[in-house]
């Protein structure tokens, strides 16, 4: 047993009792990071982490995150440390300030041991488009399978057991889908619950700070530490922060759980579907009331297109500031337009350029009504339907993904229900801004898969409570690839 493998509460206990020190934990995390072969890291902050951990000598009994090593996706600004968003257009950029979540964790004296890879600028769901190449799924040592994205490095590092928690960001499913492929917990709270100050924006109406843990209680610990109003982010909520750890310990009485049958039916993998249906029985045995509901096939089918139009349009506008002038590599030119064009042509990969053109096309005067505004109206209709279901139910519960981690390069029918519905429904949580958590459910041929619970806005305590119950049901708790005794 290694202390790094325990829940945050148990590691904390060991730290307080001085059975282990932050420096020892940090050294172990760094060792695992350096041994890892899955291309999880933009940088490993060995020197900085060791120096900081060495200063942590007097345990803070009331601070669960004191001395806990962690990782952050490289789209969170870190003062004085390179922050690339895995894009060549930001190579060499060193922010002048910390993202609020980084600052909060610094204040809690958690130890940042590295920055993780992502799909370039967090736009992508495969973990293959960052400027350092493909990030692999630790559960397939042959490196044939993806971990998913865009928070690929954080997800893979968690699946490899390197740290107890890692920060990610989630615009469509960028924390919750890779969590399913990596067999870990992926949390996206309510929109506005955690400040986004210092997170590079992709599509601000959909962007959320999220994170990965391996224990359900840890998900509550992190939410309590990261939530709250931030004057630096005008979209952060003024609502009080609950005592998520204590509140989520309370078991819910007869929670009402809506199962969206049209999503379940779009899944063709029998092992995943059967395991999901079996988990319904176990939830019922635990006292839950299961309601089978049809969301509406056509509305579900339109999620993907709605997401692509809105997110690409927002990204096109947001990333106009990436021009190689104020930051990022500078290229000479005869005019300032040429300077910018050189930086953007050389700095963005093909996928990013394609997404920007799609966004720009949707915003063209001739197309705005029929594409962009129509997508925004459709979003309103989808959200209305989601909230209707949650008016009568505490949670929506569905498989998080239709398959285990796909093989790299595998093609799928982009017009099928499996793709349009089962592979993209998690964006519902981003459209509506609702809290949504992916939990591990099982393994198929040694590869993990998960489920997703979504709750009402700002009702994270209840959502975390059902997740803690679910963790007891599955018995999957603290797993990672290669864990001793597994």
């Amino acid at each position: 047993m290694n202390y790094l493998d325990l829940s945050i509460r148990d590691i904390h206990q060991a730290l307080v009792e001085k059975k282990v020190t932050p420096l020892e934990l940090t050294k172990e995390a760094l060792k695992r990071a350096k041994e890892n072969k899955d291309n999880c890291f933009e940088m490993i902050l060995e020197e900085e982490a060791l120096a900081f951990a060495s200063t942590l000598t007097e345990p803070e009994a009331d601070n669960l995150l004191w001395g806990i090593p962690y990782l952050a996706k490289d789209n969170f600004s870190t003062k004085g440390l390179p922050t690339t968003a895995s894009s060549n257009i930001l190579v060499g950029y060193k922010p002048l300030y910390d993202a609020t979540v980084i600052a909060k964790l610094k204040e809690k004296k958690a130890v940042l041991i590295g920055k993780t890879t992502l799909d370039e600028l967090a736009m992508g769901g495969t973990g293959t488009t960052g400027h350092l190449g493909i990030t692999y799924n630790p559960y397939d040592p042959k490196h044939e399978r993806m971990i998913g994205g865009s928070s690929c490095g954080s997800a893979a590092a968690m699946a490899a057991g390197i740290v107890p928690f890692a920060l990610g960001s989630d615009t469509g499913d960028s924390v919750r889908k890779p969590a399913s492929y990596g067999g870990v917990i992926g949390v996206k709270p309510t929109w506005g619950r955690i400040s986004r100050y210092g997170l590079f924006p992709f599509a601000p109406s959909l962007d959320h700070v999220g994170y990965f843990t391996r224990y359900a209680e840890d998900a509550a610990v992190l939410l309590e530490a990261l939530s709250g109003r931030d004057v630096m982010d005008s979209t952060s909520s003024v609502k009080d922060v609950d005592a998520y750890v204590a509140e989520s310990e309370k078991e819910l009485v007869s929670p009402r759980i809506a199962v969206l049958d049209d999503i379940v039916e779009s899944i063709r993998d029998n092992a995943i579907r059967d395991a999901f249906l079996d988990s319904l029985k176990k939830l019922e045995e635990a006292g839950a009331m299961i309601n089978h509901i049809r969301f509406g096939h056509d509305l579900l089918e339109s999620i993907y297109a709605t997401y692509i139009v809105i997110s690409c349009a927002e990204a096109t506008s947001n990333d106009a500031n990436l021009d190689g002038i104020k930051f990022g590599p500078y290229y000479e030119g005869k005019t300032y337009q040429e300077v910018m064009s050189q930086a953007r042509t050389k700095g963005f990969s093909e996928l990013i350029k394609r997404r920007f053109v799609i966004g720009s096309f949707a915003l063209m005067r001739e197309n705005q009504d029929v594409l962009f505004l129509r997508a925004q109206k459709n979003r309103a209709k989808i959200v209305e339907r989601t909230n209707q279901i949650l008016a009568d139910n505490d949670f929506i519960f569905v498989p998080a993904a239709p398959t285990v981690a796909p093989k790299l390069g595998a093609t799928s029918d982009k017009l099928s229900d499996e793709y349009l519905i089962a592979d993209n429904h998690l964006a519902l949580g981003n459209f509506a801004g609702l809290p949504s958590i992916t939990m591990p459910l099982g393994y198929e041929n040694g590869l993990p898969f998960g489920v997703n619970f979504m709750g009402r806005a700002f009702e994270e305590s209840k959502l975390l409570s059902i997740c803690r119950t679910f963790e007891k049901i599955t018995g999957i708790c603290g797993d990672y690839y290669g864990k001793e005794g597994k």
Partner: protein, 98 residues
């Protein structure tokens, strides 16, 4: 909707101040062929005229006023620290006029 062809896509890319290779434009064109079919999934949703375009998940209450207290902004050196082309404490770019 505007017709999608190579010229339209090239024009869009140039307005966004980047270029792509011919091969990349071809990939984009074939991506649009699939995307157009996916867009039809929105086209067939009825009654959208009754909805307002949704720009954020929900209203944010930001009703406070900041105290009128002086703060220290970035120094000139900090502001220029990440710029690749500077001269005499300013960002240097090619001449716009003259």
């Amino acid at each position: 909707m505007k017709e999608i062809n190579l010229d339209v896509l090239k024009d869009a890319a140039h307005r966004l101040l980047f270029d792509m290779s011919d091969e990349e434009y071809e990939t984009l064109l074939s991506e649009f062929a699939v995307l157009t079919k996916q867009m039809e999934t929105i086209g067939k949703i009825e009654g959208l005229e009754d909805y307002e375009p949704m720009t954020f998940p929900f209203e944010c209450e930001t009703t406070y006023l900041r105290e009128d207290e002086p703060t220290t902004p970035l120094s000139r050196e900090e502001a220029l620290a990440n710029a690749g082309s500077t001269l005499d404490g300013e960002i240097k770019l090619p001449k716009v006029v003259g």
